[in-house]
Symmetry: C2
Subunit: 348 residues, 2 copies
Amino acid sequence: MSSRLKDVAALAGVSTRTVSNVVSGSAPVAAETRARVQAALDELGYRPNMAARSLRAGRTGLIGLAIPELHSPYFGELASLIVEAAQQRSWTVVIDQTFGDPHAEKRLLEGVGSRLVDGLVISPWSLGPEELSDRSRDVPVVLLGEQPPRGLADRVAVDNVLAADGATTHLIESGRRRIAAIGVQPHLHNETARQRLAGYHQALRRAGLLPDPHLEKAVTALHRADGASAMAALLEADTRPDAVFAFSDELALGALHIAHERGVRVPQDLAVVGFDGTEDGRYANPPLTTVVPDKRQIAERALQCLADRIYSPASAVPPQDVVISHHLEKRASSGPARPLPTNIAAAV
Amino acid sequence: MSSRLKDVAALAGVSTRTVSNVVSGSAPVAAETRARVQAALDELGYRPNMAARSLRAGRTGLIGLAIPELHSPYFGELASLIVEAAQQRSWTVVIDQTFGDPHAEKRLLEGVGSRLVDGLVISPWSLGPEELSDRSRDVPVVLLGEQPPRGLADRVAVDNVLAADGATTHLIESGRRRIAAIGVQPHLHNETARQRLAGYHQALRRAGLLPDPHLEKAVTALHRADGASAMAALLEADTRPDAVFAFSDELALGALHIAHERGVRVPQDLAVVGFDGTEDGRYANPPLTTVVPDKRQIAERALQCLADRIYSPASAVPPQDVVISHHLEKRASSGPARPLPTNIAAAV
DNA sequence: CAGCCATATTGCAACGTTGAATGCGACGTT
DNA sequence: AACGTCGCATTCAACGTTGCAATATGGCTG
């Protein structure tokens, strides 16, 4: 239990340094000695002490992943991919949930100074430029999403304007005219929501449609419940929308839920498009059309950014701005608007 | 950047030990000295080095969370709660995904010896007793779920037999007779699935129903796709089931999806009950009846077990077996079987 | 055979922190 | 006045590991 190099050395009758050499292979060891040490290692079940190694090496082999919440489908899937990608790089991931709390995010960035992690991947919700440009940032940081202005740290994100434009255009092309948007967040400095709204406006204007403020529903969070109440409000208005572009799959699923509850047929009476490409949407009833960011690519590129800076700290490389590809996955929720016999529409 | 106690001490004109005392408050410091040191601390933006602290203290303040996969709704929600609960105990969580790979789980347990973590919460998928009773286990381990036999480590789980019985009984009481089960895993040493099957059998027999092997569908994983293909197989059989008890919400959602696709009405033609109480199910169409384990309690009690052992290592306390409460959340997917006009049934 | 190189092993120091022991004045008590 | 005590600050060592430099042992060349 908890054997040290010293114990192994004593058992094998060599110095601790030789044991260390056997373990790490950093210097040549005679075959016979190596065998004797190996036997001692096995017998004692030696495991190197991470704290000591980290102290010596100045690296912990840990990277931090800070996301608003782990339980939402999008962040769950993303976190899973990041943990997986980190594993391949022999990194271990420590997770921090910020719940979108600016204080938590700020505290986190400061805590990075304690060198618990070699790098940090953070998906900020309301992090300003001032917090980021702070001192004591010798630990590399990668930002996920659009949040803070470019140029302060590496950033990995999809082109939200383009993606939102594409989703909205798809709705327009399928004949919808009163297209609502769910997910505006005016109370937050949320650049992501702002960009998706911009893309939505852009598509509407290009089609000669006038953005209608009554069709733009704000939410406090991006959860199913928020989507549900936004949808409920839209359905109670004088003139109902014939389509909804939700800024997240969760919002879209909440909207679908209310539509189903109120007997509004999807897609016949109402088309719904989400954003995130979560597995949830694929199995929704009806299956959800959604903007799919290449999440695996996000994970991969984010860790690549970290690796570049961790392994060549002298890099004068300016902050990267990595744009991740996306595509629109068209499913039944944005199918044809004309009423069809239910069983034909449902039978795929 | 990266200032040490030594730097602060030099700036404040005191010894490193005094700075340490100011930082940790472990010994009295004169008000005037404290102020001077504090000023130096602030100026240099001192952050204690975690590796050095850990090495000295013999503790890292990290706990490991090992789960099959982070992206599934159940484990995502559970992980979120555990991270949250850990935060309240000033622990940081490192996440490991095993993907149900026995080798990964075993390797993980061995790696625990490196003292990277002070404790480990593991949700084993196919971990046998032999791996667990292994040596070098001076790091406390808590098992989530039914997997290995009692008595080898602390364990936290719901009473799966009781829960499955309750779900099945609910279906029987709502008038169903051909009740299928989705989620058997004969190829794995999966005690959880086995217990849920046992509870299902128990309920059937009590009601005088004979378990029918054709109604018990095996799956390789507990994902939506597995539930979908199992459901598809059930619907293609000669005599269709009038109810399905799925061993996870994901399986249930896959089943719902196929039912919807094939025009099978839920709950009129088919009742569906899931297991896990994920947020997914609440917003499904129709909303999913499901067995809800108290996940917050799971997280809380699991960490409590760890804390007990971490903070009083001399404990000769035998392994605990904590049973977590659960309840059946009845929603529309297991509503009345009689055909009703669609719009009345849908409008809640 | 001296001199040199390659291989194998070792000792020392340091990473940054804190527990334990020590120094040392000032204060209160007898 | 002498003694014990308390408050505050310091020194020393150690946690387990590895980089660096030094040493020991042989084999080879000139």
